[in-house]
């Protein structure tokens, strides 16, 4: 195998399509009554809205499409939601919990 190409940071925009890599697991933690994201040596605890966003990260919907769904659901301005969602997803992508 040749060495992998120099990896680059993925910058999340409203066009980005994200999904959870196979080794990142979104799971309901029944014993503690919460949703968790299991990662190597990490447990992320997304809040209710973040869980909804993560469930919509299916490798098909764009960040913009996900934000539109939430904006409708919460009757909130789409640009506000989009900014909020991008910030959250960028952070998780930087931590290796999401990929394109």
């Amino acid at each position: 195998m040749s060495e992998p190409n120099t990896p680059k940071r993925l910058i999340v925009t409203s066009e980005t399509v994200l999904k959870l890599p196979r080794h990142i697991k979104l799971r309901h933690d029944a014993g503690r009554g919460r949703w968790i994201l299991l990662a190597p040596e990490r447990v992320f605890e997304p809040d209710e809205t973040s869980v909804e966003v993560l469930k919509l990260c299916d490798g098909e919907r764009s960040v913009g499409a996900i934000s539109a769904i939430l904006a409708e659901q919460y009757q909130a301005p789409v640009d506000v939601i989009t900014a909020d969602v991008i910030e959250m997803l960028q952070d998780l992508t930087d931590k290796g919990a999401l990929k394109s």
């Binding site: 190597p40 809205t49 969602v85």
Partner: protein, 386 residues
């Protein structure tokens, strides 16, 4: 709409209150499947009295531990050793752990692995591989591990992990005899496609305590590593997650050992003893239950060793009235025992400990003397070196 927030917790750390956490299951279980290992690293975290192969738990015992862990609400299982791949039944244990819903992490030196076996482990549900390296300079790496050809073999294993599309962490224990390689270690982790790098300054227990004078870096050398890591974290954002473990000899406050005693982590030894931390057997007044005799949940909740230092009631001054007592939990009980003779004392790593100054002097002195020969980790070598 509420803000979207995601709380991040490193395994073993907690944000909940103590009472809440203690009523709960541990998040992680460290399964030391065996103390056998082909490597002889002089800083091994295993106890100096290594457990022998004829005392090891059976396949069925380990499978039962995995099932119990899942039922108890444990989330992550760290399959460690010794070298966990020395167990021929690792496949069965991984399979059972995955079935129990546990997130499985293999902590390996890699040198015994074959590609086919790794692929099989992946197919059985292994989630993540953590591969240790001793240095990026092969001859120095092989000298530290006392294993010829080890570095080359590890490099091959790292490639297999990526070819098999598995997530990879490189674990690099850092000390005086490889500290200058840190920038190259970081580059190496990126080059092999690791998603995460653990740069872990040695913690001085067991074998590492015996070899402390060979391993302790100077304060200046340590400070430089902190700078290098901080710069790399910024530069490699979104490419490599770097976790940095500092040597507590140079810290102001002690580390929150195990995220608090009996709070987040449970450890099972090769022979089935259940410990609140992998070094806990250095506390002679504790009684350790065995998974062969008692259910895991009962041991966790009621075992004498777990109850002894759980919470904060056991604390003496200066911990007792300290505003940080629920942040660092008085540091490490084993270090307090080893260096002050009382496990309930403040860890001397804390600047509020009366022992602190003396202990910082030890680090200074040892890091500035010539390095003695390693006492390599093998059965009986520690006793014969006394």
């Amino acid at each position: 709409m509420s803000d979207t927030t995601v709380q991040e917790t490193k395994t073993g750390e907690f944000n909940a209150s103590i009472d809440e956490a203690c009523a709960r299951a541990p998040v992680g279980l460290l399964a030391e499947l065996t103390h056998r290992c082909p490597l002889q690293c002089p800083y091994c975290s295993n106890p100096v009295d290594l457990e022998r192969v004829n005392t090891e738990l059976s396949t069925e015992d380990w499978k039962s531990v995995m099932r119990q862990a899942g039922e108890l609400g444990i989330l992550q299982i760290h399959l460690s050793g010794g070298e966990p791949t020395a167990r021929r039944d690792l496949e069965e244990i991984v399979e059972e752990a995955a079935k129990a819903g546990l997130y499985t992490n293999l902590i390996t030196a890699g040198v015994l692995l074959k590609r086919e076996r790794l692929e099989k482990l992946r197919d059985l549900g292994l989630d993540h591989v953590q591969l240790s390296i001793q240095d990026v300079k092969p001859e120095n790496a092989d000298r530290i591990a006392a294993y010829k050809g080890g570095a080359a073999k590890k490099h091959e294993v790292a490639k297999w992990v990526k070819e098999l599309d598995m997530p990879l962490t490189i674990n690099a224990p850092l000390h005086r005899q490889n500290i200058d390689s840190l920038p190259d270690i970081i580059d190496y982790a990126v080059k092999v496609g690791a998603g995460r790098l653990e740069v872990a300054h040695i913690q001085y227990y067991a074998w590492a305590l015996k070899n402390r004078a060979s391993l302790m870096p100077t304060r200046e050398a340590f400070m430089k590593t902190a700078e290098i890591v901080n710069a790399a974290k910024e530069r490699l954002k979104g490419i490599l997650v770097i976790d940095f473990v500092v040597p507590d000899y140079y810290a102001k406050y002690p580390k929150p050992c195990m995220g608090g005693w009996g709070r987040g982590i449970i450890n099972v030894t090769p022979s089935g003893k259940v410990l609140p931390c992998h070094a806990a057997e250095s506390l002679p007044h504790l009684q350790f239950d065995n998974v062969r005799d008692r259910p895991l949940a009962d041991i966790w909740l009621n075992g004498q060793a777990f109850q002894m230092y759980r919470g904060t009631d056991w604390m003496k001054e200066p911990c007792k009235s300290c505003p940080r007592k629920e942040i660092d939990f008085g540091g490490c009980r084993c270090q307090a025992m080893a260096l002050t003779g009382d496990a309930a004392n403040t860890d001397p790593a804390c600047s509020l400990s009366p022992m602190h100054e003396e202990w910082a002097k030890v680090a200074h002195a040892e890091s500035h003397t010539e390095t003695p020969e390693f006492i390599y980790r093998r059965m009986g070598s520690a006793a014969s070196a006394e």
